[in-house]
């Protein structure tokens, strides 16, 4: 099984020293060239983020592989861009909510095994709960945000098979496979790890984390 990674989970896992959780995934991990630049090339130039970038860099070519997109893939990205960025609109026209970076990751995931690791929530909500996204946009952008239902259906047709996982889901899965079991108090360590990821940008609520931990 091949998992495509977006930028967020890699940065969060690196910043929280949890990259080791990736070793518990029996999968090859892939990133697009855009993500490669965002997690490694650019942050290396800023001292404050360079160490995190180097840690990720160590895995590239060993556990994480850069997968370029074909011309056909890029054409699909363009198409997705046109469709997805015209789903929501206000009185001023379509609202652009997604960038190429996300769309490239989706297209690559679509081509491989349809598993996408992504910590931010916008694309995930388009797949899983577009009404929640519309309501959020409407609340902030002066109340008038509508959904082009035909575009939304087209968009969801293109990406509905994608299963999105977050860094917290990966760490929780890894925990169930033995990650963190060497700690003095593994459950406490897991709780700390999940919250560390949350505070480093993973779109997960406190309620979700606590609900999950109660089941252990």
């Amino acid at each position: 099984m091949r998992i495509v990674f977006d930028t967020g989970p890699l940065i969060s896992l690196s910043n929280t020293c949890l990259l080791e959780a990736l070793n518990y995934l029996p999968s090859e991990l892939y990133i697009t060239p855009t993500v490669y630049r965002e997690v490694y090339v650019h942050p290396r130039r800023k001292r404050i983020y360079a160490w995190s970038a180097e840690r990720i860099g160590e895995l590239i070519g060993r556990k994480i592989f850069v997968h370029t997109l074909s011309a056909a893939d890029l054409s699909t990205v363009e198409h997705l861009d046109r469709v997805l960025n015209s789903v929501f609109y206000s009185s001023r026209g379509p609202i652009r909510i997604l960038q190429r970076g996300e769309l490239e990751a989706v297209v690559l995931a679509q081509r491989l095994d349809k598993i996408l690791a992504m910590d931010e929530r916008t694309l995930r909500l388009i797949i899983e709960d577009p009404e929640q996204l519309r309501a959020r946009l409407a609340r902030k952008l002066h109340g008038w945000v509508k959904v082009n239902k035909e575009r939304l259906e087209r968009a969801r047709e293109l990406i509905r098979d994608i299963f999105v996982v977050r860094s917290v889901d990966i760490v929780a899965y890894a925990y169930e496979k033995g990650f963190l079991h060497d700690k003095k108090d593994p459950v406490a360590a897991l709780r700390a790890a999940l919250y560390a990821l949350k505070y480093n940008g993973c779109a997960v609520s406190e309620e979700e984390i606590e609900r999950y931990l109660r089941r252990l």
Partner: protein, 162 residues
């Protein structure tokens, strides 16, 4: 621009923050980078006004005059941002620049509104790593209902990966 000028002349950081918020949401509707930069400028000015070591410094009248002049002449937002950056370089105490902090704050507001994190970063010029770090420390993700729970995703991963 006039409203920003008035608020800055009065040294009213709250008014500047409100203007910034209004501008950034308008910028999101049309993906207008100039408007987004103006929002960043307004917010950065509000932060400048909140720094006592800046407003009480001997150079403050000079800085204020520079910025007011730029606003009166309606210079492009990018140029006004450049002036703020110079002031910050002379007076700043932190690793993250005032402008970057303003960009991150505005981008965070856009992400909270529903734009993707990359869209928010792109529109405002916020550094992506800083933005990811920042949004994690807000309550943005606690404000929503989850579509598929952590438990369900882990179960699904188990089914897929073994």
């Amino acid at each position: 621009m006039k409203r920003i000028e008035t608020a800055f002349r009065k040294e009213d950081p709250r008014a500047l923050r409100e203007i910034a918020k209004e501008l950034i949401y308008r910028a999101a509707e049309t993906y207008d980078k100039h408007l987004a930069t103006l929002a960043v400028v307004a917010y950065a000015m509000s932060k400048l006004l909140s720094k006592v070591h800046v407003t009480k410094s001997a150079n403050w009248p000079k800085y204020k005059a520079l910025l007011l002049d730029a606003l009166e002449r309606e210079l492009p937002p990018e140029r006004i941002a450049g002036i703020i950056a110079s002031i910050d370089e002379e007076m700043g105490n932190y690793v993250h620049s005032l402008l970057d902090k303003a960009r991150v704050k505005m981008a965070s507001d856009l992400y909270a509104a529903g734009l993707s994190i990359r869209s928010a970063a792109e529109l405002t010029g916020a550094p992506l790593s800083e933005l990811i770090d920042y949004v994690g420390k807000t309550t943005i993700h606690d404000e929503e209902d989850y579509s598929i729970s952590l438990s369900d995703r882990v179960n699904a991963l188990r089914r897929l990966l073994g």
